[in-house]
Amino acid sequence: MKRAAPILMAGLVAVSAAQQLFTYRDRSGSLSVQARSGLVEQRANNRLHLELKGSPVVLTSSTEGLKMRAPSIVCDAVSSSKTTVQKAVATGGLTASKSGGGSSTDITAGAGTYVPGQLTLQGAVKIVSRSGGRTTTITGRGGTATLGEGASGGLKRATLSGPVRIEAVQAGNAASTVIATGSKLDVDNVRRVVTLSGNVDVVGRGTGSLGELHGADRATLVLNAKGEVSSVRVSQGASQ
């Protein structure tokens, strides 16, 4: 088949007021876009290029189980039977939502770049994970989030720089939460541990909480299947 000439869909660029809505959906329905203005370019080898602006732009990929919102998104995708996002760069404030495996995760950041399975985040980051009726909130500055594959995986792992903070429900005591702060944070939802390092404080809030601990080098929050904190391992100095 001859190499198809790129078809510039410039006619879809909106020039009127912000209320005008620009939408795009691929043939399989696996990629959809809503924006105030946009450029969608079909390139060779089934490659798709999108430059979108909106209030915000909403880019939804059912293949990845991912929804991204930002004032500006530049996206490159590959269309075959389904459209797969290869890279999406969001600026001006990003919210990414990932659901799957019975859990959902909302990630907000100043900006971010998505490639299959991973989000690289800049600026103030907030990750809110919901699982089994429990909510865990993590904040930090910059880092990466590794997402589950396809539509069946939620957040697998996240690494954030500080100052970082995590707030999670204490296992067996829904009225109490565990709040841990530090300089760096690593979430591993496969091993069900959250590790903080660098002048770590761990504070329990509520009746029957875990107490308050200050000044550790490192703390590991061990989570149960619901994402609740079942124990905290702390170390400082040579006892690590």
Partner: protein, 275 residues
């Protein structure tokens, strides 16, 4: 020129070191239970309590509601939740100059010192075992049943032993409950009775072993093996050498009676009924 910069740079460096040292301590607190001043620390926190291990210079373990404070260079232990989710120290091994302080408004202060201390307890009572030489100092003040103010100091030393303690003693009850020490044992007891008929009494005693029980009525203190005792003032005064010496104590730990057994019993003892 170089000298002009040396002292401010040196000062800033020392301040930074001091600040860093200050920041490196780990402290844990849950209601009235705390672990403080740990330079090295590892612990597991769970809903049911905390298991910990660490070192400090010194570290400090406190249970405010019990009036209990322990310091040492190293500690390993476990605290669990009791009534009202309050943590209490269930077990601990302290080493590197273990120092246990117990104080209450009703029973005074007590201090136990040894190189090593093995502690087990509940929210209301405890047992402290000392595999190495120990010293016990106790200071109590109160009023007698005749409303005369008194103060009492006791010092006991031995090569090893154990004592049991009440952590929340009733008014006018002793925090020190029972104990056994191996010798050589030395006991020094000083009582001061104030009021219209002031009186001072001193008892010094040594022996190979000591056993005491302050939970019974009357309370007793038993010294065995190469016993020597000197009493001045008060109810019991004189000199005793014996195989066994049993001292009966009143509620204020005043000696009221001395029973001597064994030979050679070269004794010159003056005993009066309690006042």
């Amino acid at each position: 020129m170089a000298r002009r910069w040396t002292w401010p740079v040196g000062t800033v460096f020392c301040l930074a070191l001091g600040y860093a040292a200050q920041q490196a301590k780990v402290n844990f607190k849950d209601q009235d239970f705390s672990l403080e001043n740990f330079d090295q620390f590892s612990a597991t926190l769970e809903s049911q309590g905390i298991g910990f291990n660490g070192a400090g210079n010194p570290l400090r373990i406190t249970s405010s509601s019990s009036g209990l404070t322990m310091t040492a260079k190293k500690a390993e232990g476990k605290a669990v939740r009791g009534t009202g989710s309050q943590l209490f120290l269930q077990a601990a091994t302290l080493s590197g100059g273990a120092d246990l302080n117990l104080s209450s408004a009703t029973s005074g202060t007590m201090r136990l010192q040894s190189e090593t201390l093995n502690y087990t307890g509940t929210a209301t009572k405890a047992r402290a075992e000392f595999p190495r030489p120990l010293t016990l100092d106790s200071l109590a003040t109160g009023t007698t049943d005749k409303n005369a103010p008194f103060s009492r100091t006791v010092r006991i030393s031995g090569s090893k032993g154990f004592v049991t303690l009440a952590l929340q003693p009733a008014a006018n009850a002793n925090a020190l409950r029972t104990g056994e020490l191996e010798g050589p044992v030395t006991i020094t007891l000083h009582n001061e009775l104030k009021g219209p008929a002031p009186e001072t009494s001193d008892v010094e005693a040594t022996g190979d072993a000591l056993r005491f029980d302050l939970t019974t009525t009357p309370a007793t203190l038993t010294l065995t093996g190469n016993v020597a005792m000197t009493g001045k003032g008060g109810t019991v005064s004189g000199n005793v050498t014996a195989d066994t010496l049993v001292v009966t104590l009143d509620a204020n730990l005043q000696p009221t009676k001395v029973d001597v057994t064994g030979s050679p019993a070269r004794t010159r003892l003056h005993q009066e009924p309690p006042r």
